[in-house]
Amino acid sequence: MRWSGKVGSLFLLPAVIWVLVFTIFPLGYSLYLSLHNVTSKVEVVGREEVPVLDADGNPVLKPNGEPRTRTEVIRELNRTFTWNDFANYGRAFRDGQVRDAAVFTGIFVVAGVVIEIVLGLVLAYLFNRPIIGRGLMRSIMILPIFATPIAIGYLFFTVFYEEGGPLQWTGLPWLSDPTMAKISVILVDIWQWTPFCFLVFLAALQGIPDEQIESARLDSNSNWDLWKTVILPALKPIIIIVGLLRLAEALKLFDIIATLTKGGPGTATQSYTYYAYTAGFKLQDYGYASALAFLLLIVVMVIVTFFFRFLRRTYE
């Protein structure tokens, strides 16, 4: 039962306008920038005599009583946009660093998400049994999800520290070896997001009606049969949704890299977003950065479309 009528639009309108202004407009602007060469130039547009002030903000006077002045140069930042026939996109496809970053991000996303889902299922199964202290342990498991990512990067920087860190006994080059550093980044993601998969799967497990489980129990006593015939089929849509959601989120990998490895050693752990950020905000190549960001956007949009196709029916 729902109402119709124009009043509903009034409730909806402010949020719609907001999202248009703060999401759709920047995305359009980003597309525009990605098709242009962006050059920033600081130009001197004038000079001005300004009084010199002392520490307390009072004008400093010359011996003759006039205020002392100094010349201030007025600069203006000018950005010029010149159309460049998709050159940014062409460059992106030829750029070896882009390829490396995309490959690393791809491996990170697939490995991370698969392991998180499997571990999450195992943990949900374990926590769904009668165990002592479940409430408290479940609460502790929530902590990584909401811990500030930038802080997590530093946390693991000390945990992975190779001389005197708590994992020194393993003798592994956690962050100094290119391959190992990649694995370490994936491990951090697993640490942060397995709890999320676990939490969702646990909620889903508890949503399976008891009768279904009881009747399956009558047929077979093996746990594996129970999983195969009842639990996994019931969880399947949720596993897909969690997988797609994690996929889209993991592609944004940035914060952890910024503090844990800074993309290193060398460029081994440079994630796609990190490289796009570097291109834009370190090298001031804004047009190129926008093109890189837009390519990522396309990939994410494909995933998101699948995601919402699965989800749409729950929004009735």
């Binding site: 729902r2 109402w3 119709s4 009043v7 509903g8 409730f11 909806l12 402010p14 949020a15 719609v16 999401t23 920047p26 995305l27 602007y29 980003s30 943990l123 374990l126 009668p130 165990i131 002592i132 479940r134 342990m137 502790i140 929530i142 902590l143 999800i145 909401f146 811990a147 500030t148 990512p149 802080a151 997590i152 000390t158 945990v159 520290y161 640490w191 909620a203 508890q206 949503g207 949720i238 949704i241 969690v242 959601l245 944004k252 940035f254 914060d255 503090t259 834009g280 804004y286 950065a289 926008s290 960001a293 990522l296 994410v300 998101v304 699965f310 989800l311 749409r312 729950t314 009735e316």
Partner: protein, 289 residues
């Protein structure tokens, strides 16, 4: 959270219960370890950062000191960053609430013809998953042109946009689960839709609204990319403040540990309070939790 036999029809001996509980405990401790290590690190003298034996248990492996904490809370920049984070997170949460609450109500209670409700909901939620780096350059250009770099206002506007989907998805579902009859009775009595919304729906949905606020606050608090791009010194927030803990002399682990913990405590605590709604919020409504 206990409801209908949590065991899912499983019976097990007390020995098995003990065994599974122990296993669960070990896994929980492994997940807790990095946080524990930061706590331990923050209580050590700088020289002890990488020399403490074993698991670095305070009192057992070293004599704990509060020096790092005391030094950090006397730093002016730390206050500045903490206050800024508080302001940015709470104002952007409030703003998102102001926009998202009526939208959630509209999606739950009204039928839209031109664009079906489903598609509107998808549209609102989809920007939660869009990569923020795609809007980074445009926002940077617009805000620098307007002279709004290093200002809290720009961070508030951007964060409000990113966290808006949480209130929409969490509260929309709650509104939908409320019996519509109460509001209809009020409408029959001559109340306006606005009055029915404020006087009946909002109070009844209060727990979900509060939970969505906590989750939104936590996400706004943790946001880093835009804080990095848009804030220099004045508008420094906790994430950029922590990142500043590593200077040219290398990472100062003892301060970084303290800062990381100070940064993590608010979002983590709020999330614990809002536990019941985390699953619904983070799966964008796919699982009700």
């Amino acid at each position: 959270m206990s409801r209908r036999s949590m065991e899912g029809g499983m019976r097990q001996s007390s020995f098995a219960t003990a065994l599974y509980s122990l296993l669960a405990l070990v896994i929980t401790l492994i997940f807790f370890f990095p946080l524990y290590w930061a706590i331990s690190n923050s209580l050590r003298r700088p020289s002890e950062t990488f020399t403490v034996a074993g698991l670095g248990v305070p009192f057992l492996d070293f004599t704990p000191t509060l020096d790092n904490w005391l030094a950090e809370i006397q730093v002016k920049e730390a206050y500045n960053a903490f206050t800024n984070s508080l302001i940015v997170s709470s104002v952007s949460t409030l703003l998102a609430l102001l926009l998202g609450l009526p939208a959630a109500y509209a999606l739950a209670r009204f039928r839209f013809r031109t664009i079906p409700n489903k598609d509107l909901t998808v549209w609102f939620l989809s920007q939660r998953v869009l990569p923020p780096v795609a809007t980074a350059v445009p926002f940077f250009f617009v805000f620098t042109t307007l002279g709004m770099q290093d200002s809290l206002i720009s961070l508030i506007l951007i964060n409000a946009t990113f966290i808006l989907p949480f209130v929409v998805v969490i509260v929309r579902q709650t509104f939908q689960d409320l019996p519509i009859e109460l509001e209809e009775a009020a409408l029959v009595d001559g109340a306006s839709h606005l009055r029915a919304f404020f006087r009946i729906a909002v109070p009844l949905a209060a727990p979900a609204i509060a939970a969505s606020c906590l989750i939104m606050f936590a996400f706004a608090w943790n946001e880093y990319l835009f804080a990095l791009i848009l804030s220099l010194t004045e508008a420094s927030v906790m994430p950029t403040h922590i990142a500043g803990g590593a200077d040219t002399r290398g990472v100062q682990f003892w301060f970084v540990a303290v800062r990381s913990l100070i940064a993590m405590v608010p979002p983590v605590l709020l999330a614990l309070i809002a536990q019941r709604y985390i699953v619904r919020g983070l799966t964008l409504g796919a699982v009700k939790g």
